[in-house]
Symmetry: C2
Subunit: 86 residues, 2 copies
Amino acid sequence: MYLIKVKVTYKESILDPQGQSVCNACHQLGFEGVRDVRVGKYFEVTLDVAASEVDETVRALCTELLVNHTMETYTYEISGISEVLA
Amino acid sequence: MYLIKVKVTYKESILDPQGQSVCNACHQLGFEGVRDVRVGKYFEVTLDVAASEVDETVRALCTELLVNHTMETYTYEISGISEVLA
């Protein structure tokens, strides 16, 4: 069993209005040191496949479902989780 | 200058309907090995403060703006970024 942590963000060239509004809110709350904010999606996927298939499955999941490739880019981390037997 | 990576997820006890619908979609696409999906928010914040203030500033940002403490929990990573002088 594996825990996959996927971070999805906009590509650099894409405008991030949500990030800009969070950045403005930071300034209004007095956080003057905030220079830029990028907002993205975060997924934690529990995956039960053979070790040899994990990487390929994660890439296929991101390609087919989790990421909009026109506008977004992604990174992921794979960590093994030992099953807690009842 | 620092790059702060903040991952915000629902607390374990909170139902995650968005995660469940992504999980169902995974199964419909044939990814039978997916056991669970949790969906959260991801922020990349560029912060220009003194080294001694970084940690405290990040916690205050999360407490006051980025995280809904009733339902969400968060983790963050701090990495230094050297300023590229024009």
